[in-house]
Symmetry: C2
Subunit: 260 residues, 2 copies
């Protein structure tokens, strides 16, 4: 067999992209599978929210391609990202599409899978620790608790048209717990909707910035104080907002010098 | 300094329990941090849902204590588990409390944290991949999708009194997505509530048994067929039920010989 067809066969066998969850930022919170995929990758196509220490795990020879996606700032159009995935996915190289958190939670995974399916390129999804999970661990609370809430919601405060509408009436009930992703700029909106639908003004709200990273901050607030507390805190990193959860006292003591 | 006080100081410094998420079962889906905690543990207090290959990672010298908790079967009362944690937590040994999935999702974490707090024993929470995340990765779908759902619910079909009530009217709406934990025996209840609240009979429901394990099974069903399909499938392992999600075609092709 000549070398060329054999190489082509190898390339055909490796027409594949791994969607890998980078987790919240701490490299120790990568799954072992995600870690293995990063160490082996020839090409890594990553979002801006992926932390530096995680990118540093990749091989020096790997092609690192930033697509700059995050909640707001500038980013490549989704169609360009899809085209990049298809281009590299058919190269025969080991391609990792690295997404912050878990790829299946507010990760716009479907658009990218559909582009690969249309091009006949295989893929797999390697789960990651989602920000809600790391954030709730940081404040020593559970997402669900017997006698308090038998359900938890992961939601975003934004949709394609602007602020997203939700069952605010249900969310405003005592004992409800929800994790609001990309909620930083929606504090006033969430505060208004919750109060309008009858939430107690003292309902706890906790914002965790840079969960699991060395610069993690915990802001313990309430519905009525939320906008003022966030303005004072001046968040700059990725943040997750919990409606209905306050940090355990011990967790607040661990945190130094947050002036609120 | 004599040896005894020094040992006592070391023991005091190690009055600590790590709540570690074992993830859904595949040892490769442990986080690197969880893996490190298991390799170092002197005592591992684990639930029945934790998979054999994960328990096998622990050191041969580690004391392995099963507390047998799972959705239904026999198990130690929670007070006994709390007492075990306090007893070992003050031993100065490296103690891991290993819970299936993520400790913060239907993990009854709070009761155990409160027992340690009351005894002045330190703790930390090491997140795990929750079953919903591994299950949705297995069917190639997202928990959230632009234009379909801006929120996803993790819920259980059971509470302390029996079947749990939820916002069935909201859950029955087109495009809603929910992950039902421990939902296997509640299929008839969920089916009834969804239909009563106006869900389309053809609303997709997918059940993933043994997510991420070698014996993983995917049952693609719908609200109206749910009870019959589950009876036919005869599930025996842990299972998660998605309301509002169907597997991608490619994922069903990967699965061999499920007769439904």
């Amino acid at each position: 067999m000549s070398k060329l067809p054999s190489d082509q066969n190898a390339a055909a066998a490796l027409r594949h992209v791994a969607f890998v969850g980078a987790g919240p930022g701490d490299p120790d919170l990568l799954t072992r599978k995600a870690y293995g995929a990063l160490l082996a990758a020839d090409v890594v196509i990553y979002d801006r929210l992926v932390s530096g220490p995680i990118l540093d795990l990749c091989r020096a020879e790997a092609a690192m391609i930033s697509v700059g996606k995050e909640g707001f700032g500038p980013s490549k159009p989704q169609a360009d990202i899809n085209a990049l995935l298809v281009e590299h996915g058919q190269s025969g190289l080991r391609v990792v599409r690295l997404k912050g958190g878990d790829p299946t939670v507010f990760g716009r995974l479907d658009e990218e899978i559909e582009a690969l399916d249309a091009a006949g390129i295989g893929w797999e999804v390697v789960p990651g620790i989602t920000a809600a999970s790391a954030s709730v661990a940081a404040i020593g609370q559970s997402l669900t608790k017997r006698g308090r809430n038998q359900a938890v919601r992961f939601m975003t405060a934004h949709d394609m048209q602007g602020f997203a509408e939700h069952d605010w009436h249900a969310l405003a009930r005592e004992g409800e717990v929800a994790a609001v992703y990309m909620g930083k700029r929606a504090a006033r909106f969430v505060q208004g909707r919750m109060l309008m639908h009858g939430a107690a003004p003292a309902t706890p709200v906790t914002v965790i910035e840079n969960a699991s990273r060395p610069d993690q901050r915990i802001i313990s607030s309430s519905i009525v104080r939320l906008e003022a507390d966030l303005a004072k805190a001046g968040l700059s990193g990725p943040a997750l907002m919990f409606l209905g959860l306050a940090p355990r006292a011990a967790q607040m003591e661990l945190q130094e010098g947050i002036a609120l």
